[in-house]
């Protein structure tokens, strides 16, 4: 069961213990294999990470005049002031006065594309995730923007009441069982050292484990050959949960991302990372 209200020190201790036990088990063998595979992959692409393709395209998309207003995104305020990209990811999600809501990176990009460039939000929402030839601007932009925060410490703000409310809503949502299979996020992500088939499941309510994985999002997904964002991850975990289709940038998606990224607060940012 999740331990979100136990004292932090116990959580930390428990996390270490569970980690130690986890690695001791047979389970670790297959997990190690997967890890080795990814490592081999990383080595193979060390000089030309495929993520760089998305980063390069993201930089172009940021600087290129587009949309009915024919302007670039260079005046988009990601929270650090118009056009400031360095360090932006480390301080997201956050509340934005101009929209009066909490936004994560992708939701903010959507907002800028609509308000600055005059693009149609309905059309943008139709292609949020890339699929081979059909590329997603969000994935490219997120990859490039994330790379500009590499090495920084994840520290999303919690000062505004809306930021605190988003985190609390995310925590509630994390427990919501539903659908044909009775799944909630907690079914798969509230215990340490468990797996589905051979895929390791991080306990995302535990800061140690949240930090280990969330600082590497967005991540290049080897099995799909795509750059994936946290919005995609939320959508796909809800699909596995047999829920309906999660709307890109919706309140639920941003609340869960807030919950996860705050739990991971203090993580060293190393995005874009690599996933199975």
């Amino acid at each position: 069961m999740p331990d979100s209200r136990r004292p932090v020190w116990w959580a930390a201790l428990g996390g270490l213990l569970a980690l130690a036990l986890g690695t001791a088990s047979v389970v670790a063998q297959s997990a190690q294999e997967t890890a080795r595979e990814i490592e081999r992959y990383r080595e193979a692409v060390a000089d030309s990470s495929p993520g760089e393709l998305w980063e390069a395209r993201g930089e172009d998309l940021w600087k290129m005049p587009r949309g009915p207003r024919n302007v670039s995104l260079e005046r988009c305020d990601l929270g650090q002031g118009p056009g400031v990209v360095a360090g932006a990811l480390a301080r997201l999600p956050r509340w934005f006065a101009d929209a009066d809501r909490v936004m994560d990176l992708e939701t903010r990009l959507l907002h800028c594309m609509v308000t600055l460039q005059g693009l149609d939000p309905a059309v943008l929402r139709r292609q949020p995730f890339g699929n081979g030839e059909q590329r997603s601007d969000f994935e490219a932009l997120s990859a490039w923007i994330a790379a500009q925060s590499r090495g920084m410490t994840l520290a999303p703000p919690l000062d505004h009441p809306a930021e605190r409310a988003a985190w609390r809503l995310g925590r509630e949502l994390f427990f919501v069982r539903g659908g044909t299979h009775d799944f909630a996020c907690t079914t798969c992500h509230a215990q340490s050292g468990r797996r589905i088939r051979l895929q390791e499941l991080p306990n995302l309510s535990r800061p140690e484990e949240a930090r280990r994985v969330l600082g590497t999002w967005p991540a290049y997904r080897v099995s799909q050959g795509e750059m994936r964002t946290l919005q995609w991850r939320m959508n796909d975990c809800f699909r596995q949960q047999r829920f309906p289709d999660l709307v890109f940038g919706s309140e639920v998606s941003v609340a869960l991302v807030s919950y996860l990224l705050h739990n991971a607060s203090g993580a060293a940012l190393a995005a874009p990372g690599v996933r199975r």
């Binding site: 932090v8 044909t180 299979h181 309510s205 596995q240 829920f243 709307v247």
Partner: protein, 233 residues
Amino acid sequence: MRRLLARALSALQRTSARALCLVLGSVALSLVLAACVVGPPQTMPREPGDAQRVRAALSASFVARGQAGLDRLEQDLAQRLCSEAEAAGKPLSDDRVQAIERENQALIRWPAAGTPLLGDWRSGERIAQSGVGRQWSDAPDVPAGGNCYACHQLSPDEFSYGTLGPSLLRYAVLRAQMPRTELERYTYGRIYNPQAWLACSNMPRFGSHGILTQDQIRDLVALLLAPDSPINR
């Protein structure tokens, strides 16, 4: 020292912790930084209305797609009570446990009298392997699988198994002391609706939620109980 640290920590939790952490961190106070890293929001208390906001947020954030309609966001008794108890971090009261188990017991449908509860274990193995079904990306008319290997070890030949549920290796052998008919009925019912035995089980209610048919569940019972099934060999 420890008390000092604890006090510093809770002070940090109350104030704007992160900003402070950044400043202090840059002065390289590694101890204090460690305290920051353990992180405040885990202890933010629940506020009245939080649970209510969930319903509104859910209905504003999903669209129906493929076979997954918005009705999937409606919670039944077990889903609602289990989510609430887990979010509150409190165990369910005995009354509620009984209410859930009673309701789910009543949802179990048994095969017609005379139909053996054991079907074909080979078909059961295929159902246990298949993770297809009920996602918006799945074709609605293709029969769903049980994906038992996602959570359980079953056949010793399959190394790719998950650990959310207990190992079912040697399932029948380990329950040899249980009267056979009782074991068969228990196993069928346990797959049909786990919450008839254990409120808030993390295992899906395969029969009651229309994921698997009675015949598919009989095949799975055979996989678990047949003497020549790889599980018991």
